[in-house]
């Protein structure tokens, strides 16, 4: 590999469309979330640079490692989750910008890498030797078991529908040729609804902020984190807030790299914020019952309809 192509790859991952671009969009999105929540509560809300100030401050603060915690795991977990999100963001944006670039099966890679931030949170929380963090980690694990099955079925509904294309670039190209997935029948609309329900659970907001329920668990898995590792976790969360809507847009609405995608992006964010502000937190068993019951049933109906060609 020549030096220029190596530099190009590093630039793609580190600056655009990877780390810097996604982090800026993600932090602005998390400000948008806080501002809209504030307006819904008749407050003024924070200024636009609020999320940047939060991260800047946390980067400078002392990092406390509690006595008895597994030091390496505790400090390493946030960086593992962060690295996974950086890779996912690069792959997703590139699939939209250059659909012919990817490789077969990068959809599966993205699905796997999206597990990693949640796993990092579970590992980090468990390593911190704090009862609240352990409880939060265990809830995060149960929540993951709840939402992943339905979302996977809804993603594979699309694969059934488009005739077995499992590369993101291929899916974008397919949609550019024959219209966005959402316009291709009832099964895709069902899959989209399931994906929209998955979104707040994956982001742990809205009625599904069960792992970090602040009035029961202090801050859940984040309880013992301070300074730079907490900043990395906040950044990971902000980037997920950008990456997941982009993933949905890529899957259902052709491409994330067009003016229309901005409208889609804002609509999905507004949906998440509205759901968050109008629904009280569920108990973990209610969330499990909700996802394994109606949501999974709905997604199975979707895949059956897709295999019938609807």
């Amino acid at each position: 590999m020549s030096l220029t192509s190596l530099l190009t790859y590093v630039g793609l991952v580190a600056v655009f469309p990877g780390f810097v671009f996604t982090a800026v969009v993600g932090l602005l999105s998390s400000w948008f979330d806080r501002k809209l929540s504030a307006r819904l509560q008749w407050r003024v809300g924070p200024p636009w640079y609020q999320s940047f100030a939060d991260v800047a401050k946390l980067l400078g603060k002392e990092t406390v490692v509690a006595a008895g915690s597994a030091r390496l795991t505790f400090l390493g977990a946030p960086f593992v989750g962060f690295a996974a999100v950086v890779v996912v963001s690069t792959v997703l944006w590139m699939a939209s910008i250059r659909p012919d670039g990817g490789f077969v099966g990068d959809l599966i890679v993205v699905l796997y890498l999206l597990y990693v931030p949640s796993l990092a949170l579970i590992v980090g929380g468990s390593a911190s030797r704090n009862p609240f963090a352990s409880l939060g980690a265990s809830r995060e694990m149960k929540l993951m078991l709840a939402y992943e099955a339905a979302f996977l079925v809804s993603v594979f509904t699309l694969v059934v529908k488009n005739g077995g294309i499992v590369s993101l670039g291929g899916m974008v190209a397919y949609q550019q040729a024959s219209g966005p997935m959402l316009s291709q029948g009832i099964s895709c609309i069902i899959a989209f609804i399931v994906a929209l329900i998955y979104l707040p659970a994956k982001l742990a907001v809205g009625p599904f902020d069960i792992p970090e329920a602040e009035c029961e668990l202090i801050a859940g898995p984040y309880t013992e984190y301070s300074g730079t590792p907490l900043a990395v976790f906040k950044l990971t969360k902000a980037m997920l807030l950008c990456v997941l809507p982009v993933f949905l847009i890529t899957l259902f609405a052709t491409t994330a790299w067009s003016p229309w995608a901005i409208l889609w992006y804002v609509l999905i964010l507004v949906f998440v914020v509205l759901i968050k502000n109008t629904n009280p937190r569920l108990r973990i068993d209610q969330a499990l019952r909700f996802f394994w019951g109606p949501v999974l049933a709905l997604s199975i109906v979707g895949i059956v309809l897709a295999s019938l060609g609807l």
Binding site: R34, A38, Q41, W42, R43, V44, G45, P46, P47, Y49, Q50, F52, A53, D54, V55, A56, K57, L58, L59, G60, K61, E62, T63, V64, E214, C215, I218, A219, Y222, T223, E224, Y225, S226, G227, L230
Partner: protein
């Protein structure tokens, strides 16, 4: 306690002034000051405008809001929580009791005003202080950082 003098880069110092997260610690207060702290967070005063939010874990805190005279029961907890806070942090004594033990002065269970236990940066007197006074105190404290 020397850790509190920790040097920050200009970038982080800007962040600290724009996003002070507060942890609320009751060390034997009558709850009146605590209610005033909650008032500060309501839509009427809305301190999220300045990036101030209430956090649940002392590890996330930049501002320690302490209400009440320190009692013998709470003394070890105050020290514990102060050590748990990631430095640098601002310690704010809220109310007459925190500043000077107030009407509990001389009681059998009183260990002392807060500044005999941990270093205090800002004193906000009043029984209870008004929400405006609390915001004013925190802003003055941030100017010190």
């Amino acid at each position: 306690m020397e850790e509190n003098e920790r040097q920050l880069s200009r970038f982080s110092r800007w962040g600290l002034k724009k996003s002070p997260w507060a942890f609320h610690l009751n060390t034997g207060s009558c709850n009146n000051c605590d209610i005033e702290i909650l008032d500060v967070l309501t839509p009427r005063y809305d301190v999220e405008r300045f990036g101030i939010t209430l956090v649940g874990s002392p590890r996330h805190a930049d501002v320690l809001l302490v209400t009440g005279v320190v009692t013998m029961q709470t003394l070890p907890r105050v020290l514990h929580v102060y050590e748990q806070v990631a430095k640098p942090c601002l310690v704010v004594a809220i109310g007459a009791c925190g500043c000077s033990t107030g009407i509990f002065d001389g009681s059998y269970h009183v260990v002392g005003p807060l500044d005999k236990i941990i270093p205090v940066d800002v004193y906000i007197p009043g029984c209870p202080p008004r929400p405006e006074a609390i915001i004013d105190g925190v802003v003055k404290g941030l100017a010190k950082l």
